[in-house]
Amino acid sequence: MSLIALPLLQQFVLVLAALVLFSSFVLLSQARLVSAIHAFAWQGGLVAAVTTVVAVAGDSTHLYFSALLTFALKAVLIPWMLHRLIRRLELERHVELLRWYAMVNMVAVALVIFSYWLVLPMVHEELAFTRNIVAISLAVVLIGLWMMVVRQQAVAQVLGFMSMENGLFLAAVSATDGMPLVVELGVAFDVLVAMVLFGVFFFQIRESIDSLDVDRLNRLTETVEETDAETGAGSRPMMVKSAVAEGE
């Protein structure tokens, strides 16, 4: 079944799914936390749009409700909460140094190809038109995971986590015509609770290591201070260097 044979609405779903994938890349390459949150909000809005169009195309009423829920939660409420959090953490102007961003993007492209390869056996089965979107949503999940791997900032990692959830939701909507409403409500509630917990964690991390750079959790604070006091060259040059570099 080629693209031309599909009704226009389903083609529109494909376009929106491709845009969700693109927003994943945009999210991955944002250095500023505020713009990353905006990119995440856009992704949530696009997922809600996909849900709406699937609802219109399949004429399934309960999907309208879940589109509304997705929009309220992922495009408005969670970005707003994150925004408030980083304002309270005074990270609004924080710019993260993105290392090897071209390489990171290329790995993400490789992840898209990998997820397509994984889904290929499914494509050979005669399934609904939305089967192609499964590859896209798997790629969104993997890119979210990849974002959690490459970023040091705790808030950016949370954004990666949330965008993984977006990918899963996209798969659920497109492949199985949406989950039962009870499950969906449960997931939405879980995401909300996770968000609140993350907020608490941010403050905890910050209190204990004075930064949200989770790479610092790998080090022992005492050792850094000792070597700092000795101004010891040689024994742990890496730590001294990083301590100097990060001394704010």
């Binding site: 491709a18 898209v112 192609n132």
Partner: protein
């Protein structure tokens, strides 16, 4: 009959090539006019680029005494290659002999040839600005070219042809479809066009005395008709990219036969499309500021990413099983 048709087609092809050369300064004048209006200036007349070219063509050529013959030859090579490249892009009619002999890869190759000679000429005299401009031009083009080829391959894969006329024919004959791959390819190609024609986020065409200039820096040593040819080639390149974007992605209105009425409509349509694109470019240039040069790789990386996503979404979403 067949013979007559091919004669008519050849005449149309020559006419199209001449139209490219003749209309190029007009588009630049139009963009400058719109931009001036947006900045609350009255701006020079739309015909000002023609006057500039005429004045430069009438002036004496001065060449630095360190210049090699390559420096004198480069303007002709650059102009000829750019013009030839433009002639292969359908402007108002699809079935022309020039579009049949050359495909998209030849087009990219011809543009690369012109750029190669432009950069060589920039380095030839040995001034600091020329070498700097050449090195920057090569930085930008080395990153823009893969993005352009990826975008072009997306189109070629969809149309099963690397021929531009084939791509346009496919667009016109197949039923309307929302193609995510075309959306991405369009976005990627627009970014590449901005970078390659030296428009604002990458290079500023309006200033002459800035340490950030790219294209102008290579032309600093040129004067007289050499400078006129170089400027003219740059203007033709702008129309080329405009026609490429307008005719590949929005081909409606282009003449599929060589009947005079169809050709007349097609010319009117392409003029409208180019005016719209030019106005959009002027609006974009008014809204945006020039990027730092070191941001240009990120910009072109985005173009490459968009083109790659276009290719991937074609494979994943459109081909299917």
């Amino acid at each position: 009959m067949d013979h007559l048709l091919s004669v008519a087609a050849a005449v149309a092809a020559v006419l199209q090539a001449l139209l490219y050369a003749a209309a190029a300064p007009l588009l630049v004048g139009w963009i400058r006019k719109v931009k001036a209006r947006l900045q609350n200036r009255r701006g020079p007349s739309v015909l000002q680029p023609y006057r500039d070219l005429r004045k430069l063509l009438g002036k004496e050529v001065r060449v630095a005494h360190t210049a090699s013959p390559l420096f004198r030859a480069a303007p002709y090579v650059v102009f000829a290659a750019t013009w030839l490249a433009a002639a292969t892009v359908p402007l108002f009619a699809v079935d022309l002999p020039t579009t049949a002999v050359a495909d998209l890869i030849v087009l990219v190759g011809l543009l690369a040839l012109a750029r190669f000679f432009l950069a060589l000429a920039g380095m030839d005299v040995g001034t600091a600005f020329g070498g700097m401009g050449a090195s920057r031009e090569m930085l930008v083009s080395a990153l823009a070219e893969p993005a352009m080829l990826m975008a072009v391959f997306t189109l070629a894969m969809t149309a099963h042809s690397t021929n531009l006329a084939g791509v346009i024919d496919f667009q016109l004959t197949s039923d309307f479809a929302l193609r995510p791959s075309f959306l991405f390819a369009l976005a990627g190609l627009v970014l590449v066009a901005l970078a390659e024609t030296g428009r604002i986020p990458v290079d500023n065409p309006a200033t002459h005395l800035e340490l950030t200039m790219i294209h102008e820096a290579m032309l600093l040593e040129y004067s007289g008709r050499h400078l006129a040819l170089m400027e003219w080639a740059a203007q033709i390149k702008l129309v080329l990219y405009g026609a490429l974007i307008a005719n590949i992605f929005f081909p409606w209105g282009i003449a599929q036969s060589l009947a005079p009425s169809a050709l007349g409509i097609a010319i009117a349509v392409i003029v409208a499309k180019l005016m719209l694109l030019g106005a959009a470019l002027a609006v974009g240039e008014t809204l945006l500021a020039k990027m730092r040069l070191f941001r240009a790789p990120a910009f072109l990386n985005l173009a490459l990413l968009l083109a790659l996503l276009g290719l991937l979404s074609h494979v994943i979403l459109e081909v299917g099983a």
